[in-house]
């Protein structure tokens, strides 16, 4: 009886292990497929699409994972056939680097321009204002005019 119990327990443990391994493998397949474009769809990844080609993509990914290939090797397999176009995010190398760097460069330029403008505004605000006698006379006249109108009302 004890031996039977042990056999049952070990079998259950083995089946649970198999199930878990399969689930992890499927997760890895979808993780990699999410980085690939479905070649026959519009704006869909190979993970989201149910097109026959996308299903085959996932099958190929699974076969290559089972054969011990790394994620980089699997992505390289698809790039060899479809070019960089197949990747949903452009690779961080060569001309594609521009896509990643341009927003940072644009942000830096904006910050530099803003800093220069603020410096100019601050410099202007600190400058001593020179008021001539003529200016004082004109302001005095305007105030007198304003007070007169106020009294009349």
């Amino acid at each position: 009886m004890k031996i039977l119990f042990k056999i049952c327990f070990c079998s259950l443990l083995f089946l649970a292990h198999l199930g878990l391994a399969q689930e992890i493998l499927e997760q890895r397949v979808f993780e990699i497929a999410r980085q690939l474009r479905c070649p026959v769809c519009r704006a869909e990844s190979a993970a989201d699409s149910s097109a026959e080609t996308s299903q085959e993509f996932r099958q190929i990914i699974q076969e290559q994972l089972e054969a011990g290939k790394s994620e980089a090797e699997i992505l390289a397999f698809f790039r060899e056939r479809y070019g960089d176009w197949i990747l949903l995010s452009p690779p961080k190398e060569g001309l594609h680097l521009l896509v990643w760097l341009l927003p940072i460069i644009a942000g830096l330029i904006a910050l530099i321009v803003l800093a220069m403008l603020m410096q100019r505004w601050l410099r202007k605000s600190r400058e001593h204002v020179v008021v001539s006698d003529q200016d004082r006379l004109e302001v005095g006249r305007a105030l007198e005019h304003f007070n007169n109108q106020k009294e009349q009302n």
Binding site: P39, V40, E52, T53, E56, I60, R81, G83, W85, V113
Partner: protein, 180 residues
């Protein structure tokens, strides 16, 4: 004044031009995507021939190591309307060019073999056709949509990939290059 702001205006104009270029591109157009196989040896394959061609071409057809062209490979499916448009064009071209090169039709992304056979019957295609049941060959060739035609040189390297229905003009222009 314009000179003073040039350092802001020029990068802004460049970014606007980049944005305009990106927005004006049609995501449905795939004929402007260059094949990753251009000027490289094309992948080998061996696929089952449709029954109608077995007597003349054997049970399977493909290209192996050391393959020598010239060859025109056309990927098609029975459900694809542009494939129906180009089928009669391809048949006429085969009649004109069969002494100079081989045209090989590859039926792909077509779940029902019966539909593909009906297509071949309907258009009376006399050049050999094979079936890529699991779409593996179309994946090896980086096919983006159907139909697509690959023009392969005598040395087995890819000269040109045409996405979309083939016309006589495109065929003749590209065939002249692979026959050189």
């Amino acid at each position: 004044m314009v000179k003073r702001f040039a350092y802001v205006l020029i990068p802004l104009a460049l970014l606007a031009a980049l944005l305009f270029y990106g927005m004006s591109r049609n995501p449905d157009r795939r004929d402007n995507v260059r094949s990753a196989l251009s000027n490289k040896p094309v992948p080998a394959f061996d696929l089952a021939t449709f029954d109608a061609y077995q007597q003349e071409y054997g049970q399977s057809l493909g290209i192996g190591e050391g393959f020598k062209g010239p060859l025109v490979i056309n990927f098609w499916a029975s459900w694809c309307p542009p494939c129906r448009d180009e089928a009669p064009v391809l048949e006429r071209l085969w009649q004109d060019y069969q002494d100079d090169l081989l045209i090989l039709g590859i039926n792909t992304q077509d779940p029902q073999a019966g539909n593909a056979e009906a297509f071949l019957d309907e258009f009376k295609l006399s050049f050999p056709n094979v079936r890529d049941e699991k779409s593996r060959v179309s994946i090896d060739y980086g096919v983006l949509g159907l139909p697509e035609t690959f023009f392969i040189r005598k040395d087995g390297t890819l000269s040109f990939r045409h996405a979309g229905p083939l016309t006589k003009d495109i065929f003749e222009r590209e065939v002249a290059k692979i026959l050189q």
